[in-house]
Symmetry: C2
Subunit: 430 residues, 2 copies
């Protein structure tokens, strides 16, 4: 803890910065803190547990090691820290104006991950993934992207280590968000709509994963990169929660009462929440879309990570690997499955989950934009909708609840969704 170096909190402070020297130098591995080891992923053909060799065509050895690691902390390489320093540590912000607008005694804080180059939390994992692959001789990465946040992040990360980057983008998002393609190309990435073999299909994350995996297994120079779900991705994201712990302390808070984040595959929720897991007094809450209610309505069972069944089976909450969610604007949350870590925590009751409908999400987003000045990504609005529910509950009970949420990305490349909402044309899911 570097509390002594943080500025002392002032009663009017709303933003809690950390000096760069307080940037975490190791990731927090949740594995030793789980009630029991995770169930192993199973080979898609044999249904036997997969070993490192099975994953080698897709991932760097170092990442496979992290996927299965049980060490409590894993060092962040200096070459990764050098790139993370372009935007980290990110600010912790007290949303005082939102508190005032809600008339709540709750104290609301958010980690502002929107300040990254890609505008979301995603580069936290894209950078180490690109780095480890580069170090192991790989020259090209393939990946999928939903809303475009992950593809943007990986394009940025590949530019830092001089890697090629091929992005398969869910067709519905590709069409809704033309600027996403441009920003990926600005960093040297290439972008194609998915599924590549059916131009009439709106696409899904599962199908785009199939396209990206097929690309990677077909080329020796190429590995695959996943932006969520897997243990090593959540591991990389824990810098968010680790920084937040230091910053809450400098804001004078002992702990948050509840930690909230949107949940699609689980990476931003895991990033902010997992470092708080060892403290049983901290509630953890996942906010997901009502149109893709994996945690609130899915089954907890082994399923494929992709549509075509190329990936190992994982024990997780799932809506079925052939589920095609409605084309809501929160493209990053349109995933049939969920992180095995998050799924286990929800299954065991350690983590709560709630679902929000699209219009309520945009109502929360516009309120947030007007009072806090930040225009949220549609994904982020799911978290904000939950924050508002928690704050209102605290108000009803007269509690000084401390709420921490992850502001996982800005909506500046999602403004078409706002246009639809402001025009009254945004429909709720059936």
């Amino acid at each position: 803890m570097i509390r002594a170096m943080a500025a002392p909190a002032d009663t009017t402070d709303t933003r809690f910065s950390l000096p760069q020297s307080a940037l975490p130098t190791a990731w927090f591995n949740v594995a030793p803190h789980l009630s029991s080891p995770l169930d192993p992923p199973l080979h898609p053909a044999t249904r036997e547990p997969v070993g490192p060799d099975d994953l080698a065509p897709l991932f760097a050895q170092e990442l496979i090691g992290q996927e299965m690691a049980t060490d409590p902390w894993i060092d962040i390489p200096g070459e990764v820290l050098d790139v993370l320093r372009l935007w980290r540590p990110t600010p912790l912000v007290r949303a005082r104006r939102l508190e005032t607008a809600l008339g709540t005694p709750a104290r609301i804080y958010f980690k502002d991950e929107s300040v990254s180059p890609a505008g979301s939390h995603k580069p936290n994992s894209a950078v180490p993934q690109a780095f480890y692959n580069k170090r192991e001789g790989i020259t090209r990465l393939s990946t999928e992207t939903g809303a475009g946040q992950w593809g943007t992040a990986l394009s940025f990360a590949c530019a830092q280590y001089d890697l090629e980057c091929a992005v398969y983008m869910v067709r519905k998002s590709f069409e809704q968000k033309p600027y996403r393609k441009v920003i990926m190309e600005t960093w040297g990435g290439t972008v194609v709509p998915s599924p590549i073999d059916d131009p009439s299909h709106p696409g899904s994350l599962g199908a785009a994963i199939s396209d990206a995996v097929r690309d990677a297994v077909g080329r020796d120079d190429t590995h695959y990169a996943l932006g969520s779900v897997l243990n090593h991705v959540l591991l990389h994201q824990t810098v968010i929660g680790l920084e937040a712990q230091q910053q809450l302390a400098s804001a004078g808070e002992t702990r948050p009462d509840v930690v909230i984040a949107p949940c699609g595959g689980g990476s931003n929720l895991g990033g902010v929440a997992l470092p708080f897991l060892p403290d049983p007094s901290v509630r953890l809450l996942a906010a997901e879309p009502a149109s893709c209610p994996t945690l609130t309505q899915g089954r907890y069972e082994y399923d494929f990570g992709d549509t075509a069944g190329f990936t190992p089976l994982m024990n997780m909450y799932t809506l079925g690997h052939d589920f095609v969610p409605p084309g809501i604007h929160a493209g990053g949350l349109r995933y049939h499955g969920d992180s095995p870590i998050i799924s286990k925590l929800v299954h065991e009751g350690r983590m709560e989950a709630v679902a929000h409908r699209q219009r309520a999400v945009f109502e929360a987003n516009v309120l947030f934009a007007r009072v806090e000045g930040k225009v949220p990504a549609p994904e982020a609005g799911h978290g904000i909708a939950s924050v508002i529910q928690e704050a209102n509950d605290a108000t009803a009970k007269g509690e000084e609840r401390v709420i921490l949420f992850n502001y996982c990305g800005h909506g500046l490349l999602d403004l078409a969704a706002y246009e639809e909402y402001l025009a009254g044309d945004l429909v709720d899911e059936p």
Copy 2:
């Protein structure tokens, strides 16, 4: 100076944050530091110097007072600081990866004004302008916008004080940047293309000012707000340079050798540069577009601020108030005139000016995006192009030159311009 509170510089530090307690509480007024008082603005009809009463239909009394003030410092109201704290102080960043890419011994720093709600430096003045008008009983503001940055900032600021906001947007930009309208509407603003009486005209800042002034003089509840040029706007922007002075000190720098910013009307250049004016060893440099070369090719004489001749005449560099610049992407720099303060400094040789062509600007922007991770606004690229020239000159001369520039805004709502550039379709000015 709050140096003691800043974190000590580390050799690997790239970002220098300030605690919120170091936010400047007074603006730096350059008037006492000029070689002689500014020439007075002249009434458009009588050509006599205008007094406060002449400006009262357009501006709040407090702003008129600031326009003519000679006090060295002007206090920032607490209600304004409360809103500025949503994003200020902004980071000072050392662009180490750009230095490496250029192979230069120069040390390059930038103020990151892109982290504001509106994504540019513009809210620094929009917020106090909205506040003073609200306090004086005004319920609605009208304004013009070029690229959209100022209109976005004023819409945000009006939302903070519950004011209506009417934005007249240069038609060419209105058509190039549809998301700009959406973000202004998200904050409750209304946006119409200008000139309102000629749908076939691409528009200009001068014509949009005419539309906005005409709106304001026709309604008792409405004042006009200008986002650049005027003394009080540059005054509000000096928080940028004042913060930079503290941050450079915490980075171990005695002073910058040169301070650089893009210059359209002069607000972001004035903001970063004017606090350094009293030190004659600091060079000040304006970067403007070759297609609208006000400072490098204009005449220094009295001219109207707008096309229709509604505004007072000001002594400034001008290309003529009926000049219609080509529709380059840096819409914020397409102005026929310039700030009287900036003009006087250039005229007297205290400030330098250089012009850049559009393709060179985007080349600089793409390099910056790839190495520093930030996608600049087209306007910002003019400053970056000058930074690269200065760094290369330092390299040639073997000098450890300290370069400070204002990264005045991000380009996330300008990606159509990048698409054109990356496709090879971006043409240089004739």
